[in-house]
């Protein structure tokens, strides 16, 4: 007689075998799975593996650790590492606190102007990464409006930890805010109400119920921002000055000293704390979450109306928002001013300048993003469909591979692409293709994530109904799943478009004489101290993003409009 264990393995094996046969009878599905796995391996895993290998081997492929020895002894690697981590910890903590205050004020109190504050908080996510850096330079820098013109401070030094941290907090707290807002909204408010009915004061409820329950959300926000701060390249490149951080030092090793090996190693070293944060976030914090989604409508939140709580929160949120408006307004204003800090007359000079010099970059950015965006979103939806609805070999590999380019620092991905695709058989450096591919895979996991989430909420019976009526996998995907995932598709498209348009670190090594990008142009304008032109570029970029939102919405709605006909 079989032991239970043996019986099980026998059953599992026979099921697996049948599943495999079933797959063979669906060549389309099989092909899709193999094709997706193949391209994920080539463009998500291989570059990072190559990056590792290139640090550890010499020209002949022998293991060679002298490079690491060189990095440890001859560069200020440890200083940069410590600086990066210190910055990340501080920014993570502050952004999580600010995000929490913001999220609490919006979800739990009767704050006036919630919608407005909500939009303003998300703005930094939608804009190019160094708009805030640029604005800080314009307002508080050596010839800044506030520091020089208003306060008559000469030569104010904004380069270094303090302002870099402020800028990163401002640009990254929205991530913490969105995360915490989602968490506070789903946190069953009836436990808070229960605590109130037991006679607890507001403060007591907050300290003994709300805060402990939202601690996992706080921690995960901290970790997300920590990782983002570590991977950030644009802001440190502009503002770090002598405060040496890893991403900038990797960039300088490659661009300044043409030392690809050292640069690769430094870029890879960012990976370690990033991955650590990611793992803690995914496997430890998320398991401690108290968020309960039951599908049952829980009691509505009893909003806090006490003036002594609402007014201070309102003032904090308002100040923060006003500061954001000031920063963005400055950039817009500067783009119309003749010479910032010297000649304040309004002109379109900056725009004339960038449309003459940067027309190529604008066109290229738009063109490349326009190719990358639908490719990324569609591939994302396809992967989501396969992972949520199908069972097949290599599913785990697919999940991990699709998230790698998003999770690794952009600078590591960029260098990985350079070392991987600069020789045959896949010679891509210098082409438009490599930029598009980098954009596609850098933004892929957004599509996968939104797609999977929306698909999980759709009754799988709906797709089964199509299958049982005779629809194959492709037919089901295109006629049923994709139209149902419409809103996920839209947000996937939008997100990947914005990311493609605004990415810096992943593509900075991939641009070439033939193909240039807006963000890289902005960076070089900032470095050449042509801040008016940089501002004008930023404004153009933001306007293009806003237009894209409208266009994408129209396209998606048009493609999948519910069609009502008369059948007579």
């Amino acid at each position: 007689m079989d032991s239970p264990g043996m019986a099980r393995s026998k059953h599992v094996r026979s099921e697996k075998r049948k599943e495999f046969f079933m797959l063979l009878k669906q060549p389309g599905l099989l092909f899709a799975i193999i094709a997706v796995l193949a391209i994920l391996i080539i463009f998500c895993i291989y570059p990072i593996v190559r990056l590792f290998l290139s640090c550890l081997t010499d020209k002949n492929g022998q293991i060679d650790l002298s490079n690491i020895n060189y990095v440890f002894t001859k560069t200020d690697f440890f200083q940069a590492f410590w600086n990066s981590v210190k910055l990340g910890l501080f920014v993570g903590l502050m952004a999580a606190i600010v995000g929490y205050i913001y999220a609490f004020a919006i979800t739990r109190t009767a704050l006036p102007g919630k919608k407005f504050f909500n939009v303003m908080a998300i703005l930094p996510i939608l804009s190019p990464p160094f708009v805030i850096s640029l604005a800080v330079m314009l307002l508080f820098g050596r010839s800044g409006l506030i520091t020089k013109t208003l306060l008559h401070i000469r030569g104010n030094n904004i380069y270094g930890f303090t302002w870099l941290a402020i800028v990163q907090i401002l640009s990254l707290f929205p991530l913490a805010y969105l995360n915490l807002k989602g968490m506070l909204e789903t946190l069953d408010s009836s436990v808070e109400n229960a605590s109130r009915t037991l006679g607890a004061s507001r403060l007591k409820v907050f300290l003994t119920v709300t805060l402990p329950l939202s601690l996992p959300g706080f921690l995960s926000s901290f970790l997300i921002v920590f990782a983002k701060s570590l991977c950030d390249f644009g802001n440190p490149q502009v503002l770090a000055g002598n405060y040496n951080v890893l991403s900038v030092s990797a960039y300088l090793q490659i661009v300044g000293l043409f030392d690809l090996k050292t640069g690769s190693f430094i870029a890879l070293s960012i990976l370690l704390p990033c991955m650590l944060a990611y793992l803690i976030q995914n496997y430890w914090v998320s398991k401690r979450s108290f968020v309960t989604v039951t599908g049952k409508a829980t009691g509505t939140v009893e909003l806090i109306r006490e003036k002594k709580i609402v007014i201070p929160l309102f003032i904090i949120v308002l100040l923060l928002t006003l500061f954001t408006i000031l920063l963005y307004g400055t950039v817009v204003y500067v783009s119309f001013v003749k010479t910032w800090g010297v000649n304040w007359s309004l002109t379109l000079d900056s725009y004339q300048f960038i449309f003459k010099r940067g027309a190529r970059a604008i066109k290229d950015t738009l063109f490349l993003s326009a190719i990358a965006t639908p490719a990324s979103a569609l591939l994302g939806m396809l992967i989501a469909f396969l992972m949520v609805r199908k069972s097949f070999f290599g599913k785990r590999l697919m999940a991990i591979a699709s998230i790698i380019p998003f999770a690794v620092p952009g600078i590591a991905l960029g260098i990985g692409y350079v070392v991987s695709f600069n020789t045959r058989p896949i010679l891509l450096t210098g082409t438009a293709a490599i930029i598009v591919i980098a954009m596609v895979f850098r933004t892929l996991s957004i599509g996968v994530e939104t797609g999977s989430n929306s698909l999980r909420q759709v009754d799988p019976n709906i797709e089964e109904a199509a299958i049982i009526l005779g629809a194959g996998n492709a037919k089901t995907f295109f006629s049923i799943s994709l139209p149902i995932m419409k809103s996920a598709l839209f947000s996937g498209l939008l997100n990947s478009f914005i990311r493609s348009m605004t990415s810096v670190s992943a593509v900075i090594f991939l641009v070439s004489v033939n193909w240039n990008l807006l963000t890289v142009s902005i960076l070089s304008e900032i470095e050449s101290n042509r801040l008016g032109a940089a501002s004008a570029y930023c404004v153009v970029l933001m306007v293009m993003v806003v237009i894209a939102v409208g266009v994408l919405e129209a396209i998606v709605n048009g493609l999948f409009a519910r069609r009502r006909r008369s059948y007579e």
């Binding site: 239970p4 264990g5 019986a7 099980r8 059953h11 599992v12 026979s14 099921e15 049948k18 599943e19 046969f21 079933m22 009878k25 669906q26 009754d459 019976n461 709906i462 089964e464 109904a465 199509a466 299958i467 049982i468 009526l469 005779g470 629809a471 194959g472 037919k475 006629s479 049923i480 139209p483 149902i484 419409k486 999948f560 519910r562 069609r563 009502r564 006909r565 008369s566 059948y567």
Partner: protein, 367 residues
């Protein structure tokens, strides 16, 4: 819709799932299940949730891979054929209508996949919508029609492609009680008219009894009993079946003198009786006597003395809990003549002896 109906046969089907707590252990969703559905018949799989009935249905549909065993639709073994090539129709508990398509397009979906001409599709969809009495809603979207209408659309969509087998996965459980009763009559009428072989999953025993040619009672992946509703109600094989279809009291006899040929000679509450016995009863093993609540009649000169413990009024009948021979027993009184009885009253009762049945097991309440 006028194709020759084919049967379904399931032979020695096994499906296991790994248990969550112990990886060595496994749960059987189907434990060597064998059954057959004759052409044109409607067979119900009835059982408590988790008994494996839906898994069985999904294996016939092809959404779930059997661990071993064979499934025949007509003469074809289908367990290696993907679901979209099996030519079965299915009605889902949630209806699973395509939310982005009109009623017409929902129903036409399967026909379009068969590459029919537009004109043909239009005619077929129209005629099925007429049959279902929903032709007025052709251009509405699923969220613009009522639950009962959605139900009809789902049925129309499932039968319009003339599948060889129709599978029902608790299709009525989302409807309110009144509509459910009405729809099950409708469903049965249409199934008979279309003459399609059907496998129907439900956990509602009255639904199963109302519509099926055959009922299959399942528990823990195993078929407990197969038969018509009447056979199963009158002659359950074991306590589980007796308790699942209808209500039953299980009373331990004072003595079992002999069991043979489907009859048993027992002493019950001090009276010697000959009652029917399940073929699973063995002499020397513990057995209980099943007494249906409606088979207990209150009578002035009854064989058994009883005392009323409690009562409840249900309109059609009065439910009495009474104590007979130290055991508490439920009785349903449909006569309305004993309404004046009070708790604690001493009465006497008769049993409908022909309906008593000896079943294997002890008199513990769990079944």
């Amino acid at each position: 819709m006028n194709k020759e109906a084919v049967g379904v046969e399931i032979r020695d089907l096994v499906k296991t799932f790994p248990a969550f707590d112990n990886k060595k252990q496994e749960i059987y969703a189907a434990n060597h299940v064998t059954l057959s559905v004759k052409p044109g018949e409607l067979v119900t799989l009835l059982g408590p949730s988790g008994c494996g009935k839906t898994s069985l249905l999904r294996m016939v549909a092809g959404f779930l891979m059997p661990s071993s065993g064979e499934i025949y639709i007509g003469n074809q073994e289908v367990s290696k054929i993907p679901p979209n090539k099996r030519n079965v129709g299915m009605m889902f508990q949630s209806y699973a209508l395509f939310p982005h398509m009109t009623v017409f397009d929902n129903v036409a979906y399967g026909l379009k996949l068969k590459h029919m001409s537009k004109q043909e599709i239009k005619e077929q969809v129209k005629s099925i919508l007429q049959l279902m009495q929903i032709e007025d809603y052709a251009s509405r979207f699923p969220n613009e029609i009522s639950g009962g209408q959605q139900q009809r659309v789902a049925l129309a969509r499932a039968v319009v492609t003339a599948p060889s087998v129709l599978l029902f996965d608790e299709p009525l459980s989302n409807l309110d009680a009144k509509l459910r009763e009405y729809m099950r009559e409708e469903l049965r009428k249409i199934q008979k008219r279309v003459g399609i072989t059907s496998l129907y999953v439900t956990h509602d025993q009255s639904e199963a009894m109302a519509i099926s040619d055959q009922v299959i009672i399942m528990q823990s992946g195993t078929i407990e009993q197969t038969g018509t509703a009447m056979e199963i109600y009158a002659r359950p094989k074991n306590k589980f079946v007796a308790g699942f279809i209808g209500k039953a009291n299980f009373v331990k006899p004072d003595a079992i003198h002999s069991i043979s040929g489907g009859k048993a000679d027992i002493t019950l509450f001090g009276k010697r009786l000959t009652v029917a016995a399940s073929e699973l009863c063995r002499a020397g093993e513990p057995c209980v006597c099943m007494i249906r609540p409606e088979d207990i009649k209150i009578a002035p000169e009854g064989m058994f003395g009883a005392r009323i413990v409690s009562k409840a009024y249900f309109g059609q009948y009065i439910q009495h809990f009474m104590e007979i021979g130290g055991q508490e027993i439920e009785q349903m009184d449909f006569t309305q003549t004993n309404a004046a009885l009070q708790d604690g009253d001493e009465i006497s009762v008769n049993f409908v002896i022909d309906s008593l049945r000896l079943l294997p097991g002890d008199d513990s309440r769990e079944i």
